[in-house]
């Protein structure tokens, strides 16, 4: 196994003056291996979202480095960073993941369009992904005609379809009832196992945590505990 993504003393502070400054992420050094199924856990405000955004190159660290495939994301910006995210990182957000005016299929297809994947190949991969996330026959539906769980499955499919190195998911199940949430997580786990796809997700939910192979506990922006099962 080799490291997909790693951080070295990465910090993200909000605010300028000493007294009111929030250390959302403080001196975090972690390494995620290929094929890991890792959960970032911790109380509200502990820095989970901030850390995931740093890992995904959505946010720039105050100091420290974030390396993905031996590239320091922290040093990139603009179109280069956009392209890097497009090709190397998949994202699943808590909600409002999908473009409402696109059908499920089109939502999945869009990212491949950005990548310049050929039309026939796009079509083939969309069909394949819909099958893998259990949404066969629902490809033509717009997000508002899909349940919350189904929408998140489309988001998973969209994240997978571009063949990223890692998929980052910020509380993907937070808006789902627990049964649907667990089903979504099982789907992610299955994709993790079948495709050796690396997942890092954050959660509050004990049942969800229990399915992770590794738990990184955050507290006030610092890693409190890092346990691999």
């Amino acid at each position: 196994m080799s490291g997909v993504i790693s951080t070295t003393d990465v910090c993200r502070y909000f605010g300028d003056d000493e007294e009111t400054m929030v250390k959302a992420v403080d001196r975090v050094s972690i390494e995620i291996e290929r094929g890991e199924f890792t959960a970032i856990v911790g109380p509200s405000g502990s820095g989970k979202t901030t850390l995931l955004h740093l890992l995904g190159g959505l946010d720039n660290p105050t100091s420290g480095a974030v390396e993905l495939s031996d590239t320091n994301i922290a040093a990139m910006s603009g179109a280069v960073l956009s392209d890097f995210r497009r090709d190397h990182i998949g994202f699943i957000f808590q909600s409002y993941n999908l473009i409402p005016v696109f059908s499920a299929e089109e939502n999945i297809e869009y990212i491949m369009l950005l990548q310049g994947v050929e039309a026939s190949e796009r079509k083939r991969r969309v069909t394949d992904m819909l099958k893998q996330v259990g949404l066969e026959g629902l490809g033509n539906r717009r997000p508002n005609k899909l349940s919350g769980g189904q929408q998140q499955r489309v988001a998973v499919a969209r994240a997978m379809v571009s063949h990223p190195e890692i998929i980052l998911a910020d509380e993907p199940t937070a808006n789902l009832d627990s049964k649907t949430g667990i089903a979504l997580l099982d789907l992610m786990k299955e994709l993790n196992e079948n495709h050796n796809m690396t997942f890092v997700f954050s959660t509050h939910d004990e049942k969800i945590m229990s399915r992770a192979g590794r738990l990184i506990h955050l507290h006030d922006g610092e890693v409190e505990l890092d346990e691999t099962k």
């Binding site: 979202t49 959505l58 497009r86 473009i99 005016v101 950005l114």
Partner: protein
């Protein structure tokens, strides 16, 4: 294709707002087209009026005859010039003229007159002189039994001298050689009415006028009608190169007072339209910015998954452009019949309107590519322009902040 779909569907997302925006775009466009059509139409009517009445598209004189007419400023080889002009493919026809002020007499009355000698056959195909005759007939070069030439006189002279067809008109003027010119002409036609611009003109056969003014074989003016209306400046410049010793002017110079007032009027018109377009676009800008703000999260996601900032900005431009295009298509479809009617039928005016010094009793428009194309270009360019700030705003949305703004 998918991007176009996205733009299209986003437009139909807020149906009512898009419809209102589209309506203002369509309305603004139709207003602009109508206003353009009106101004182009009335001016091109005025232009064709005086071009055909006497000015022609191009005039040739000696030196500054146009500005300071003097009887001795003559074109001395009109025959050679005529041959040259007749051979020119761009020229429809041309005519030769001489001018002199004179006093006209009949019995005990007298009246000032402007004598114009015209090459009769050429004049017929170059100006509307023949059509302006209200009584009698277009004259010819022939001398009558007593050796007098014929004349066509303005209705004003006919009235003040109380002279009629067949009567003998006496003209007194000064010849080119300084001699006193006087002769008798037989009135064969009355031109126009008492309000016509040429109410005090006496038209003579060219040869008669030349003899009368002792300026054998030379003329003061050549007026040219082109085959193509729009070519006056270009052809004038080309002729000037061929005729370095003469002065060649397009109608824009000959009728410079009219031309300048027309340009000024058109500028005012453009300003007015700029104002309309501005108002329309404040509305469009508002719509576009609002739709960007509403979709902050969406743009955040699009950026997070790897859309380049420029692509996001282009999406906004595409949306705005598409909305503008749809509105303009509707605008063209609606204004086409309107302008066609306006051009071919027009509006009858209760009071004649002054168009750059020419009275028009009928308002008609113009149906041309310019009339439709110019506002179109204007609106498209403005729409794209307006999408820039909105696009920049969307492109700058930070995914982290978009994700946090629940």
């Amino acid at each position: 294709m998918l991007l176009l779909k996205l733009a299209f569907r986003n437009i139909f997302r807020q149906r009512r707002r898009s419809l209102l925006t589209a309506l203002s775009l369509t309305g603004g466009y139709i207003l602009c087209v109508f206003s353009f059509s009106l101004s182009e139409g009335s001016y091109s009517n005025a232009i064709s009026f005086f071009i055909l009445d006497h000015t022609g598209h191009i005039q040739i004189h000696l030196d500054d005859y146009l500005l300071r007419p003097k009887i001795h400023k003559t074109i001395d080889d009109p025959q050679g010039l005529s041959e040259l002009l007749d051979a020119n493919e761009e020229i429809e026809s041309h005519t030769l003229r001489v001018f002199a002020p004179a006093i006209s007499y009949y019995e005990k009355d007298n009246s000032p007159a402007q004598v114009i000698g015209v090459a009769l056959d050429r004049e017929r195909s170059t100006s509307t002189l023949a059509a302006k005759i209200s009584a009698g007939e277009y004259i010819d070069n022939a001398l009558d039994a007593e050796g007098y030439y014929s004349a066509m006189i303005g209705a004003g002279i006919a009235n003040s001298l109380n002279i009629g067809l067949g009567d003998e008109l006496i003209l007194i003027s000064q010849g080119a050689d300084g001699s006193i010119a006087n002769d008798i002409f037989i009135v064969k036609a009355i031109v126009g009415n008492r309000a016509s611009p040429d109410r005090t003109t006496v038209f003579l056969p060219l040869i008669a006028a030349q003899e009368f003014l002792s300026m054998y074989g030379s003329v003061h003016e050549v007026s040219i009608l082109l085959k193509d209306d729009g070519e006056a400046r270009v052809q004038a410049a080309a002729l000037q190169d061929q005729l370095p010793e003469l002065t060649v002017d397009p109608w824009q110079t000959v009728e410079s007072t009219f031309y300048q007032s027309m340009q000024a009027d058109k500028q005012g018109n453009n300003f007015f339209m700029g104002f309309i377009v501005f108002i329309v676009f404040v509305g469009v800008l508002n719509t576009v910015l609002m739709s960007v703000l509403e979709r902050t999260r969406e743009f955040g996601v699009l950026k997070a998954i790897g859309s380049r900032p420029l692509k996001i900005a282009l999406m906004i431009t595409l949306e705005t452009g598409l909305l503008a295009t749809l509105s303009l298509v509707v605008g063209i479809l609606l204004s086409l019949p309107l302008i066609a009617w306006f051009t071919f039928t027009g509006i009858e005016l209760a009071e004649p309107m002054d168009v750059g010094g020419i009275l028009m009793s009928h308002l008609t428009g113009e149906l041309s590519l310019f009339v439709f194309g110019m506002p179109l270009l204007f609106i498209v360019v403005f729409a794209l322009f307006i999408s820039i700030p909105a696009g920049m705003r969307a492109a700058r949305i930070s995914p982290t902040e978009a994700m946090r703004s629940n």
